[in-house]
């Protein structure tokens, strides 16, 4: 083994070792690295009950109810398997709309609904002109009918 081979081996071990160590650490902290919980995880009781957390999902079409006298509003979030009702009073991001993915930060009530103090809009990875989107629209929106099981 020449010194060059030894250096090569040392560096390979260093990089692979770092990779393995990091992979194990990330696996151990997997739950903490999730930015939000889905309605299914909340239904399964995985979300914390004593502290704030984030919930993410699609706003069900036709589920948004607004109080005309105040900023109070509520809507239903779905991940196509389970649903959670979210209530919120505040300013919504421009991208908030029915059928849109959103992330809400807040707390679960004992009755199983979610009280948010912050609502962020998520946008997807698709970019297209409005005309193309219009021709695709009908089959791509989540509705209450998509909530089968």
């Amino acid at each position: 083994m020449t010194p060059r081979h030894r250096r090569m081996a040392t560096i390979t071990v260093l990089v692979v070792g770092m990779g393995l160590a990091t992979a194990l650490i990330l696996r151990a902290f997997n739950e903490n690295l999730m930015y939000f919980y889905s309605p299914s995880e909340i239904a399964a009781g995985k979300a914390p009950s004593a502290r704030d957390f984030r919930i993410g999902g699609m706003v069900v079409v036709g589920s948004v109810e607004r109080n005309p006298e105040s900023l109070e509003m509520s809507f239903t979030l779905t991940d196509y398997a389970h649903q959670t009702r979210v209530s919120y009073a505040g300013i919504l991001p421009d991208l908030f709309r029915e059928g849109q993915g959103i992330v809400a930060h807040g707390r679960l009530t004992p009755e199983g609904s979610f009280i948010a103090h912050e609502v962020l809009a998520k946008h997807d990875e698709n970019y297209m002109p409005p005309e193309v989107a219009a021709s695709l629209k009908p089959q791509s929106l989540p509705t209450t009918a998509a909530n089968a099981p």
Binding site: M18, G19, P93, L95, F96, Y127
Partner: protein
């Protein structure tokens, strides 16, 4: 074959080669930037959801790609200098770090500017944003390490080890949006299957990405030249070169 490769690894020859190549790189990147900007800001249609705001993609995505690419260049140059003792690797890694840090900062700033109107927040501690911030700290750590060690050879070795240790962060940045739930959306182009972006929007984006790439190489060549002159300041060829251009004596 090996002899000719060895020639370009010598700092003197690389200095001369870089002087010839870098103006062409600057020229090419200027042409590509002009085409990409006209296409991206003028010709591309507005997005169905984000309207005109989506156009920040033409700065954000190329700088984010470059932030990772520059790190791979820096780590590869570091490995070359550690394993094969290639001096050129030392100077390239050193020249690369501030450039990579700048692209990372640009990606983070344009991301924040994009996040506020679309998501409703400048910053979120999700896996993608946090790992990109970590990349900035890796670059800054490398730069600080270079400044802290006076012996350039020792600084290059320590920096190369730091750069190689940090390589693990690159796949984490790329796959963060798949492995964990994040506010940042998944990949549009660098994924299996067709890119989910209209062709009229994609072409300017690829032009901007290519322009940034060529611009990166152009600046890297110039920065490497500066590093070479500093590194070899006691050699005859640098003294001759500096004397010829009738510059005042370089600081010893």
């Amino acid at each position: 074959m090996f002899a000719s490769w060895h020639k370009y690894a010598s700092l003197m020859h690389f200095h001369a080669l870089s002087q010839r190549v870098s103006p062409w790189c600057f020229g090419l990147s200027a042409v590509l930037f002009a085409a990409g900007l006209i296409g991206g800001l003028g010709l591309a249609p507005t997005d169905y959801q984000q309207g005109e705001s989506f156009r920040i993609i033409y700065v954000h995505v190329p700088s984010a790609w470059l932030s990772m690419f520059a790190y791979i260049v820096m780590a590869t140059a570091g490995a070359l200098s550690l394993i094969w003792k290639v001096k050129l690797g030392e100077v390239i890694a050193r020249a690369c770090a501030p450039l990579g840090a700048s692209f990372t900062a640009l990606a983070l700033v344009t991301g924040a500017l994009w996040g506020k109107p679309m998501w409703g927040t400048w910053w979120a501690w999700d896996a993608r944003l946090t790992s990109e911030l970590l990349l900035l700290f890796l670059y800054l750590g490398y730069i600080a390490l270079q400044a802290a060690i006076d012996d350039r050879r020792a600084a290059a070795r320590a920096g190369a080890v730091l750069a190689l240790v940090g390589v693990v962060n690159i796949p984490i940045i790329h796959y963060s949006v798949e492995w964990w739930s994040t506010l940042h959306q998944p990949a549009t182009i660098t994924k299996l299957g067709a890119p989910s972006i209209a062709t009229s929007m994609l072409i300017p984006l690829l032009l901007m990405a290519f322009a940034s790439q060529v611009f990166f190489f152009a600046v890297l060549l110039v920065r490497t030249r500066c590093e070479i002159l500093e590194f070899e300041r006691h050699t005859q060829w640098v003294k001759a070169l500096v004397g010829r251009s009738s510059m005042p004596t370089v600081i010893a």
